[in-house]
Amino acid sequence: MNPLVSSRDAVFDPVRLLNAEQESRTFLRLRIRMALTTLHTMLHTARLRLTLVVILSCFFWGALYGLFSEAFTFLDSLRTDIVSLLLNTFFSSLMVMLMFSSGIILYSSLYCSREARLLVTLPARAEMIVSHMFQEAIWFSSWGFMLLGSPMLVAYGVVTGSPWTYYAMLPPFMLSFVFIPSMLGNIACLMLVAWLPKIRLHAVSTIFVLACAGGLWLGWSTMSATTSDRLSSAWFEEMFGRLSITEQRILPSWWLSTGLLEVARPAQTQSELFASLGEAAKFLALLVANGLFLQLIAGWTASHLYRLGYSQLACEQPLRGRRRPMGWFDQFISMSGTATGRPIRLLLVKDLRLFRRDVTQWSQFAIFFGLLALYFANVRSFSYNATYSSMIGFLNVAVIGLILSTFTTRFIYPMISLEGRRFWILGLLPVNRDQIVWSKFIFSSVGSLVPCTLLVLLSDLTLGIPPMFIAIHETCCVILCFGLSGIAVGLGARMPDLRESSPSKIAAGFGGTLSLVISALFIMLVVIIAAVPSHLFTATQASQSPLVVRGVLGWAGSGTGIVCSMVVVVAIGLVATLWPMILGLKAFRTLEP
């Protein structure tokens, strides 16, 4: 029996319009069938990836739970009533982010996807199409909130000794909360596209920049204007006093935090338990009622604006006569150097152009590295001793490496596979296959070197790290850039997927996952080998006694130990760079497209 078979039998007209309930069921069956197929495919073809996702999620959840437990225990010891403010600030920030993310995801699925192109031509209600796409958008935009929010709220319950009712109420509270900002994002997206199709990107960008600027200003003014000692009770009071804007009664984030705090209150008697449960239920009802009300508005908006917006969006003229502001740079790269290296440089220029014109790539790159720069610039807000500064410097190198590894896996690893699909172009050019692979390596390593080394420098200067350790951190960073590029390009050439056209799907396959895992191991190896001797050295220096550690550890913490560790790190870097590249080059030479 086919899984999409309806249990209902119609006995009248051969074709007919479905009522809303029937349409909803049809879409639900479609959603369930596709989810099951995806799960089945993952279980059979991407077990490694699935296992890694589950293990890393559990690890991440556990680490966050531990972190939040410590934080709530600390806050509890301060005996200040700031948890409410903390939750309000957290939830209100998330509310804004959820609104943006669900709106953007919906825009892409409602107006740019092939699925939408099919559904718009079927006799389906516009509001049902939007509702179907909304389910996907709410999942993609809120899973991060669930992963981040659930350990925090569970930790709070455990630290405060909350009754079982608190844990039972967590899922409905969280689900009903995410519904509201996601619905607002949905409505905003529909209105923006239908009414302002030509300036939609400018409008969203402006609102996003204003929201970011407002958030940064609020954060900066809050952090910089405090007069009390950091992390003291008074400092918290002063800081959160400035964030009281998040405690507005009209905000769903306030309903959520107040409801949760009500039900989390430890109850001595049964009547107290029911009283707090009753209070919390009122806030839950408020969230649910508002969510449903917004759904009504979204349904009405979709029925009137979706098809109009879909059509309006096509009003734009295709871009012609595109300006090339970086043309001089491309020209410079392609013309400089020797004639023998020209094919590689031309391939580099091509990749550079594709990168610049792919907003997904450079925007993610800019956002992640921008956030890192912001964090590094403020890392000195807390005071550390020399030993901790050095360690934090190494941790920052590791963080840069980990973020870079996600980029090399997501964007660099699929490049060879995608190039393989264009063999009819490259195959007819007088270009050696090795040159194609090397051009990717140069593109990745040189492209990552500049931002990564600058970030390490920013971090170390902010932390006040001595020049010798800056040099060590920079060396590690350079080795990571080359090694991660070698792994991604080499494995990409060794295990190309020539049938797949989507880079994200190529990266999500076995080879991409393997590249990510090897990259993570490589980063850990490099950072640990370099960090341990440096840490021992600074610890010895800080205690002003050369005998603080003896034996092997004592030798490791000496100048010789540091030099040896760096030699080992360089050797590991060479192996990580060259081995995958050799494997990749060999495989790519004999590849049959």
Binding site: L18, R33, V120, P123, S311
Partner: protein, 246 residues
């Protein structure tokens, strides 16, 4: 069955379709021809509800494609130039989804799915995921889904792209049979030989305007070139309109 009533569609300042008036009766196979950028795809997108006209009305079986899009779609089957399928559904599951969306009763849907799978020789890979299909297989599945509910109007945008000669013949025979049974076909194509072989009437668009509407004989009469085939007439017409516009 299909009516374009003074339809204009603009993309910003560019006019893609200009004041198009066209009526296609039941049981006619109409072929819309024209060079790239002539406005054929825009016309088809307005017909199937993907785009709204800036001015004028498009009606299918009397239903306005803007005011009553669902009723208009209920009577329309659409084969786009690029097949849109769900990668994570099998061919059979996809046909069941389409059958459900058109409100087909279970027994009727089962019969029709079997019929279309047989017609388009899809049985062999009906239970494979669509992501594993070749372009030709996808196109055949889209044809099957478009004909599943026996639409009154079938809209085809470059229908033969990706089809092998056997599948092309299969589609042509099937279209002839369905047209004979009363279905109206609106087809956009660059394959002039196919239009010449199958179309009852042709329309030739250029730069958003309908330059010619009628049968092949009428085109020959208009051009005063009795011995030419459609390809020669088409090239003559489009090149003369191009030189006029210069």
């Amino acid at each position: 069955m299909i009516e374009f009533d003074h339809v204009t569609r603009e993309y910003g300042t560019k006019i893609a379709v200009s004041d198009l008036s066209l009526s296609i009766p039941r049981g006619e196979l109409f072929a819309l021809l024209g060079p790239n950028g002539a406005g054929k795809t825009t016309t088809i997108k307005m017909l199937v509800g993907l785009l709204r006209p800036s001015r004028g009305n498009v009606r299918v079986c009397g239903f306005d494609s803007v005011k009553d899009p669902r009723l208009s779609h209920l009577h329309t089957g659409y084969v786009p130039d690029e097949p849109c399928l769900y990668d994570k559904l099998t061919g059979r599951e996809f046909l069941w989804f389409i059958a459900d969306m058109f409100g087909l009763a279970r027994h009727s849907a089962e019969e029709r799915i079997a019929r279309e799978m047989h017609s388009f020789e899809l049985e062999e890979f009906a239970d494979d995921l669509a992501e594993s299909y070749s372009l030709g297989m996808k196109q055949r599945l889209v044809f099957a889904s478009a004909l599943l509910h026996d639409p009154d109007v079938l809209v085809l945008d470059e229908p033969m792209v990706g089809l092998d000669p056997r599948s092309t013949r299969l589609v042509k025979d099937l279209l002839e049979r369905r047209v004979h049974e009363g279905m109206t076909v609106f087809m956009s194509t660059h394959t002039l030989a196919m239009a010449e072989e199958m179309a009852d009437r042709v329309g030739i668009m250029d730069r958003g305007k309908l330059r010619f509407l009628g049968t092949l004989d009428q085109l020959r009469d208009q051009m005063s070139l009795q011995t030419m085939n459609l390809e020669q007439l088409y090239l003559q017409l489009t090149s003369s309109s191009e030189s006029r516009s210069r």
